[in-house]
């Protein structure tokens, strides 16, 4: 016997079977654990990195005050954290826009280590308070240029809406090359 079955019916039947055989749902506690920010999971590591990042500000003070001749802008202090080492750097913000609470950012990482992976995690640290604001993945496009998009809290969106690339940025970066660093 041969039966002609519409493909939509066949796929929906498969979907229903998969739903019926779904494994147990993960609990809220486990899911919330998965989204706990790394600075809460690794507080000692964070403390160490934040202190070093604070020191970079002093080290790059001259560079911040003296904009690059190619495109005048303030630089953002960056600490690149890897599993085995940390390195100091800075970033030039090339594009920044906040619309509908969404941040779109493009930056050039100076002196980026050659073997940095194509996607890194960027943690925004408040310039004013030294507290972590949020973190988001950034993907390299060309030549140490990274692109990043992130949803902002209403408060941050309001504060950053008027920011221009020429402004002094209200944040610093901890760039994590892998999520265990």
């Amino acid at each position: 016997m041969k039966t002609a079955i519409p493909i939509a019916q066949l796929l929906r039947w498969r979907l229903a079977l998969a739903e019926a055989e779904a494994p147990p749902a993960p609990g809220a506690t486990r899911l919330l654990e998965l989204v706990r920010p790394w600075w809460e999971v690794l507080p000692e590591r964070f403390e160490k990195l934040i202190q070093r990042l604070g020191a970079i500000e002093v080290a790059y003070g001259h560079a911040m005050a003296e904009p690059s001749p190619a495109r005048p802008c303030h630089r953002v202090a960056v600490l690149i954290a890897r599993a085995s080492e940390e390195s100091e750097s800075s970033a030039r913000v090339l594009y920044l826009a906040v619309r509908d609470r969404r941040l779109r950012l493009r930056f050039h990482l100076e002196k980026a280590p050659a073997n940095l992976p194509p996607t890194v995690e960027v943690t925004f640290i408040s310039e004013q308070s030294g507290q972590p604001l949020f973190c988001a993945p950034a993907a390299v496009s060309v030549d140490s240029e990274y692109r990043l998009e992130a949803d902002l809290s209403a408060e941050l969106a309001r504060d950053w809406e008027q920011l221009k690339v020429m402004d002094r940025m209200p944040f610093r970066f901890i760039v994590r090359a892998d999520t265990t660093s």
Partner: protein, 346 residues
């Protein structure tokens, strides 16, 4: 927020909203029992609460979440004031009405602790509220709307009971979708968890008035696309593949598959046959490139039109129609002749 301006923005629309939801006419009874001046004040406050609540509901329904949030918060603050005022001289029924309105607003704001406190206060005032239908939906978290659960999950820290219920409500549907996309149980589990993780990371921007299951499915599909994005952009071979798919295919595709030894009602098959058929479908889906699998799921499971899919991929409706026909052709080739599966399109 400047309240009068905010109200004027929704003037008219708020008139159509069911204000009784926030204020029962029974509250007027209180006037005859308690001091008139106190109840006049409370009534005036509750009228304002009703307006703000209506405005919040309208804003939420139309996706203006920031405005909805502000309306509901302002309404809740005023309603709590009214609860406190009514405690000094209102009748029991008036106080219960105010407590219920306030509990509803607390739910709209995602404030579970405040909701529980108000429910307990009502039960202390009148123990019959424990069994009353109008309090049942507030008391039983399983009866909460998606909107209330999402509002509770959006808060910092998120309410774990609300999150548990939301996950339970949509886990199976999400897992099913992930299984069809990945054609692998372990990968489906990872993808489903990743989808919840992404949702939680972006929970500040959740819209309680939106279509949550559709949002979750979109997250899962995007996460799955992210995995395959590099493959889709993988150099000249991938470009060539897309180019060839752009070319219109001859003839209209027949969107049915002829299966041997299968009943029209697939659920009537024996468990063993169902298992074998599921494996065959999975293998047929595996023959498709990620792009084609994505498209065929969007077309036949989500029910998107070729034009809608085309807009997402920045392609014409005709191109997507070609992709769909190509996917169907490959699946037919595999399922109708399982012994001689066609070469994977690459």
């Amino acid at each position: 927020m400047n309240s009068p301006c905010a109200l004027s923005r929704v003037e008219g629309a708020s008139q159509q909203y069911d204000v009784a939801y926030y204020r029962s006419p029974a509250s007027y009874e209180a006037e005859t029992i308690a001091g008139l001046s106190v109840m006049d004040d409370i009534e005036s406050v509750m009228r304002r609460v009703a307006s703000l609540g209506s405005a919040g509901a309208i804003a939420r329904k139309s996706g203006k979440e920031a405005a909805a949030d502000e309306y509901f918060r302002e309404a809740l603050a005023l309603a709590i004031e009214a609860v406190n005022q009514a405690a000094e001289g209102g009748s029991t029924s008036a106080r219960l009405n105010i407590l219920r309105t306030t509990a509803l607003l607390a739910l709209e704001c995602g404030d579970v602790t405040e909701t529980r406190r108000l429910i307990d206060e009502a039960a202390t005032l009148d123990p019959s509220t424990i069994y009353a239908d109008e309090w049942a939906q507030l008391r039983d978290i399983a009866a909460w709307t998606d909107s209330w659960l999402i509002a509770a999950v959006r808060r910092e820290p998120p309410d774990e009971a609300a999150l548990n219920l939301l996950v339970d409500r949509y886990w199976r549907a999400l897992f099913g979708r992930c299984q069809v996309l990945t054609v692998d149980r372990e990968k489906a589990l990872d993808l489903a968890q990743e989808s919840w993780r992404r949702m939680l990371r972006a929970r500040n921007s959740l819209k309680p008035g939106g279509n949550f299951p559709a949002y979750l499915t979109t997250i899962a599909t995007n996460a799955w696309r992210d995995v395959h994005r590099s493959a889709r952009r993988a150099g000249p071979l991938a470009e060539e593949r897309l180019a060839s798919l752009d070319a219109p295919l001859p003839g209209e595709g027949d969107e049915t598959i002829v299966l041997a030894d299968v009943l029209p009602d697939l659920n009537a098959l024996s468990a063993n046959k169902q298992r074998l058929l599921a494996m065959d479908i999975d293998r047929a889906l595996e023959q498709l490139t990620p792009l084609l699998r994505d498209v065929i799921v969007a077309r036949f499971i989500t029910g998107e039109s070729c034009a809608e899919i085309g807009r997402r991929f920045n392609r014409t409706e005709q191109t997507v129609s070609g992709w769909v026909r190509e996917a169907v052709r490959i699946m037919k080739g595999y399922l109708e002749e399982p012994d001689t599966p066609p070469d994977k399109k690459s």
